[in-house]
């Protein structure tokens, strides 16, 4: 069983219990304006260019048969319409400025990498977290991966936007220990405007999931001018309070701009929409609101 992943990150400490390995599956149906992993959005592999690592040696230009690479004004310009992603340039870029984002891999290969930190899981209660993109988009691969990890005795978690068919979620119910489930907004209109999709399925899935009695942690990205004002947050919390148990953890993920350069790296035309920077008072207020509804706010995840 093969899937496309774009990163494996060991020592992840904010996405589920213990010390974990994060596997990022490529492809996402949403286009959140604040997305910090734009390289996870497209399902296909992409060529990425990091100018800071480029030493302008010209090796890439020389080996590209498609003539897709030109060095102009001290940077490499990629004609993505000409590029067939053959990878020649990447192989010849010694400084690592050019990279192919996304790799077709089979489940065993990923599991082998995940197993490497097994001793750390054992001591910390950690394991595998599958993230993305939207991991359910590659559902068969996801199922196999989680099954494999569970068989190894690893704790499993998935980070999901919740935007998928219920069947997809159902198929992993028994092999996921923690669902980290994004709730971005309760207003469908705003949700559509900022993520490109309706929140109807998302919220429906969330409710069904909660009814199943599985372990769900709701994550709310705090995005100024999207969902950060009191009214928006209260609405989200009041919605949740009808279904979620008191004392449930809510992860608040403050907006950041660390993903900004990545848009440039993959030459994505939808540039990141820059929101106002988040400040301490935003976070404090949000924490307060979460607590008002008798949930436990956890800033940054854990």
């Amino acid at each position: 069983m093969k899937g496309i992943i774009f990163n494996i990150q060991r020592f992840a400490v904010h996405d589920g219990p213990g010390i974990r390995t994060l596997v990022f599956l490529k492809g996402c149906p949403l286009h959140c304006h604040w997305c910090c992993n734009p390289e996870g959005q497209k399902s296909e592999i992409e060529l990425s260019y990091v100018i800071n690592h480029c030493r302008l040696c010209g090796r890439c230009e020389a080996v590209c048969d498609q003539g897709a690479i030109n060095i102009i004004e001290k940077r490499v310009l990629i004609r993505r319409d000409l590029c067939d992603l053959c990878g020649n340039c990447v192989e010849n870029c010694l400084s690592g400025a050019l990279k192919i984002v996304g790799k077709q891999v089979d489940v065993e290969t990923v599991l082998d990498e995940v197993k490497r930190d097994e001793p750390f899981y054992r001591y910390s209660g950690g394991g595998l977290t599958v993230s993305g993109g939207e991991p359910t988009l590659q559902n068969n691969f996801l199922v196999e991966l989680l099954k494999g990890a569970h068989q190894e005795g690893f704790n499993t978690a998935i980070e999901t936007s919740g935007f998928c068919k219920w069947e997809n979620i159902e198929s992993i119910l028994n092999i996921v220990d923690h669902f980290l489930f994004d709730v971005k907004h309760v207003s469908d209109e705003k949700h559509k405007m900022f993520t490109g999709v309706s929140n109807k399925i998302v919220l429906e899935n969330l409710l069904r999931l909660i009814h199943k009695g599985v372990n769900v942690i709701v994550r709310v990205p705090l995005i100024p001018s999207f969902n950060c004002d009191e009214d928006d947050l209260r609405k989200i919390m009041s919605f949740l309070s009808e279904f979620l148990k008191k004392g449930s953890q809510i992860h608040l993920l403050p907006y950041h701009r660390f993903g900004l350069p990545k848009y440039d790296h993959i030459g994505d035309d939808n540039k990141m929409v820059l929101f106002e920077k988040i400040n301490k008072s935003h976070i404090e207020r949000a924490t307060q609101i979460v607590n008002e509804f008798n949930f436990i706010a956890n800033v940054g995840g854990s």
């Binding site: 020592f11 400490v13 040696c57 010694l94 490497r116 001793p119 854990s302």
Partner: protein
């Protein structure tokens, strides 16, 4: 006699430690001449007498004449110098460099010292007497041109033993505290009596015992001088509370260290007097308190139980003591100062672990010591913890919490590796379980081991350079090693490693007699009768600790640059022999030209498998490099009847040693710092801390009985909150479960360190982990600051 002081209400911010710490931070390191003057006078008076007697009399003169000083608010007293953070001069060890640098101490870029004109003047008068008499002079007078040639090779780096006393030891402080010097005096008198009847001609032993008696008397009267001084202050102090405190100090110093301590306060004072005198007798560094929580606990427990001591007062006493540790600073000549920047004193205080019978040793005092360490956040004492399989979770968490606090303490040590390691060196199980740490990471059995823990560094990266250049230094073109063949003709990777091992064998073989020569000079000219009263079995054998009096004897040189060697060998193996992407000839040319015009090749080398990423390909090589070093070192014997044993830690010598090494096949340019300890090279770790831990744990730590050192740096965000703490503990537990020996952390963001560089005045009290020790960040020289900042930081985002 009142042994308890009334509890005083304390206004927050005006606690005793706050005032003491403020005074400490305000004190700039300063050079002083008092000790030099007194000892010179004494030496002049004792010419012709046996050295051990001369040493004893010199120490007596010092203890009788040195300024005694009781600082405001102090509860624990005794000083090594006239002022806190002042440095006495030990002209009997070496002085040439001091003389040479007298005018530049104040302005040098690394570890500057205030040097008053009057001190300069006095020292210049004193020094001529010592010409030809110092340890340094005695050593170099035996040097042949070959020795100089050898040291010029930059493979062997010798500082400590050549210029300073040996230090690096764990005296039997509990014995002094429990028996008092009175008990030891009786022991010696017994031995002496027997000797005078049965072996009256055994001059050497008789001299040793007489010397020991002299220093014991001197130590007792030194303490009594403090008692007197306290009484004097009582008579001129108007503050009633302080009067009581001074009166108590007077009573305590009258009683200990001569007699067995009866209270926790007495035990602390008795300890501190004995500790200070060790540092007055010799300028050897890293004389370490060892298992403080173990030997102090009975006093603490008894006082608490009997209602004589409140927990609050106990903490206050610990705080007073902790301040005293940081008052001691060490001065090195400019060149050496780069190897151990930040005035480290290496007073390692270790907590927890196991008792000799194998049960858990953690007690309430272990926790209090951590609490005080965290609150005071000072570079000394160098606090460590021992962890074993069943260490209480709570203790592990508490230690992690302290470490997360950011000043790099405590260091963590793994019983499960160290104890079998010691047993592999022939140390019985019960003793092995009682180990403690000297200085940075060196291991010893308190009161029983003389391990000469820091006689030399072996520059492994330089050895690799010579192996790939047929014995010729890449920077100077001089032949400093032996012929191991032109690498251009090597047909297999094994030939490269063979050449490496041969060069290593050659240099280690040259190092042994050099170390032994230096040791013999110490034995003969600067014996340490005072220290010897606190090491078993010196009194039993009638032998100074430097002469083989200790029960366990080692000499312990360090290997530096293991990551660079492993990465280089991995690159050669892959690029030249397996993938054949480059010929040896091209590779060597690129190295000769420091990669100028060979940038492509440099990148390819950098892209080869690197130690620190959990890749067996190179980790296996690293393991071999470590093992080769260990097995080579442990072949040899020292003059004290022990063997040589290896360490893999750098203090901060990885920076200056790097300066002597040309470009290396791992893609490192000439003169760049080497990797520190067993840590991976900077920038080469790409898979995060778990991968680093796994790589490093693949080394054969059990063989490295003088310690391995792993530095890890975390961004505070990665480990915050309760969950962060659990993960922190899990990291350490896993690393230790995998077989690691030691780890220490800097939990501080690069941004904070940059801030501190820009505004040093705002960060005077910022303490960071350097190597096996912590130091005030703003007092480090620039390059070392950069080195620390560039250590890979985990979990930034």
């Amino acid at each position: 006699m009142s042994t308890v002081l009334e509890e005083q209400e304390v206004i927050p911010g005006e606690e005793r430690w706050v005032k003491l710490k403020a005074r400490l931070l305000a004190a700039k390191p300063e050079l002083e001449s008092e000790r030099a003057r007194i000892i010179t006078q004494s030496y002049k008076e004792t010419e012709g007498e046996p050295y051990v007697i001369r040493r004893a009399k010199a120490l007596r003169a010092l203890l009788e004449q040195m300024t005694v000083l009781i600082g405001e608010d102090e509860l624990i007293v005794a000083n090594r110098s006239k002022k806190p953070r002042a440095v006495p001069v030990f002209p009997e060890m070496s002085y040439d460099w001091i003389e040479k640098e007298l005018d530049s101490f104040e302005t040098r870029p690394v570890d500057p010292f205030i040097t008053p004109e009057s001190v300069k003047h006095e020292l210049r008068e004193i020094f001529p007497y010592w010409k030809g008499k110092t340890v340094y002079d005695k050593i170099v007078s035996q040097f042949t041109p070959f020795h100089w040639h050898l040291l010029g090779s930059n493979v062997l780096w010798i500082d400590n033993n050549m210029y300073n006393g040996m230090g690096h030891i764990l005296p039997d402080f509990p014995k002094i505290i429990k028996q008092g010097f009175k008990g030891i005096r009786d022991e010696i008198l017994n031995k002496l009596e027997y000797l005078l009847i049965n072996e009256p001609k055994n001059r050497a032993k008789i001299d040793f015992y007489n010397a020991a008696l002299i220093v014991i008397e001197a130590a007792v009267s030194f303490s009594k001088r403090y008692s007197k001084e306290a009484r004097r202050l009582v008579s001129i102090t108007s503050d009633e509370v302080r009067k009581d405190e001074l009166e108590l100090i007077a009573q305590i110093c009258e009683w200990v260290p001569e007699n067995p301590a009866r209270t926790f306060h007495e035990a602390c004072q008795s300890y501190w007097i004995a500790h200070s005198i060790c540092f007055i007798e010799s300028d050897g560094m890293s004389i370490s308190p060892g298992r403080f929580d173990q030997y102090m606990y009975p006093f603490y427990e008894k006082d608490i139980r009997e209602g004589k001591l409140s927990k609050k007062r106990a903490i206050e006493l610990l705080e007073c003591l902790w301040i005293k540790f940081s008052e001691l600073v060490e001065m090195f000549q400019e060149e050496w100062a780069y190897t151990a920047s930040g005035f480290p004193m290496g007073q390692n205080l270790i907590l927890g672990g196991q008792t000799p019978d194998g049960s858990d040793a953690t007690n309430e005092l272990s926790y209090l010591c951590l609490e005080v360490t965290e609150r005071l956040s000072l570079p000394q004492p160098n606090v460590s913890v021992r962890l074993h399989r069943w260490s209480p979770k709570e203790f592990v968490f508490r230690a992690c919490e302290t470490s997360r606090h950011g000043n790099g303490m405590p260091e963590f040590f793994n019983d499960e590796i160290i104890i079998p390691g010691l047993m592999n060196r022939g140390i019985p199980l019960q003793d092995a379980r009682d180990y403690a740490v000297v200085g940075c990471v060196e291991i010893g059995i308190p009161g029983r081991t003389e391990a000469n823990s820091n006689p030399a560094y072996v520059n492994l990266a330089k050895i690799l350079e010579l192996a790939t250049n047929n014995g010729v230094c890449r920077l100077t073109g001089e032949k400093v090693g032996i012929d191991t063949g032109d690498p251009r003709h090597f047909e297999t990777f094994e030939e490269v490693t063979e050449a490496y091992c041969k060069q290593q064998e050659y240099f280690v073989r040259q190092l042994i007699p050099l170390c032994n020569l230096m040791e013999r000079v110490h034995t003969e000219f600067v014996p340490t009768p005072f220290l010897s009263t606190m090491i078993s079995d010196c009194i039993e054998k009638g032998l100074d600790v430097l002469d083989g009096g200790a029960r366990f004897n080692f000499t312990s040189p360090q290997g530096v640059g293991i990551a660079n060697v492993a990465d280089s060998l991995s690159a050669i193996k892959k690029m030249v022999f397996e993938d054949q992407k480059v010929s040896m000839d091209c590779l060597l040319q690129a190295l000769d030209e420091n990669f100028l015009g060979h940038e492509d090749l440099q990148y390819m080398l950098k892209n080869c498998p690197k130690y620190g990423n959990d890749e067996d390909y190179v980790d296996q090589i690293a393991r071999n490099v470590g093992r080769w070093y260990c097995l080579e070192i442990e072949k040899y014997r020292n003059p004290r009847g022990g063997i040589f044993q290896p360490g893999l830690y750098p203090v901060s010598v990885n920076v200056p040693l790097g300066k002597t090494v040309g470009a290396t096949p791992d893609g490192r340019k000439a003169k760049i710092p080497l990797a520190d300890g067993v840590s991976p090279s900077h920038e080469s770790e790409k898979r995060g801390p778990t991968a680093v831990f796994k790589s490093v744990a693949k080394l054969d730590h059990i063989l490295v009985t003088n310690g391995t050192l792993l530095n890890m740096k975390f961004h505070p965000r990665a480990l915050d909150g309760r969950n962060g703490l659990l993960k922190f503990a899990a990291l350490i537990n896993t690393y230790f479960g995998l077989g690691g020996l030691h780890v220490q952390f800097n939990v501080i963001s690069a941004e904070t360190l940059r801030e501190a560089q820009i505004h040093p005045e705002l960060y005077r009290s910022l303490v960071v982990r350097v190597a096996g020790y912590s130091a005030f960040f703003t007092e480090l020289y620039r390059e070392l600051q950069e080195d620390i900042i560039s250590r890979t930081e985990h979990g930034e985002v």
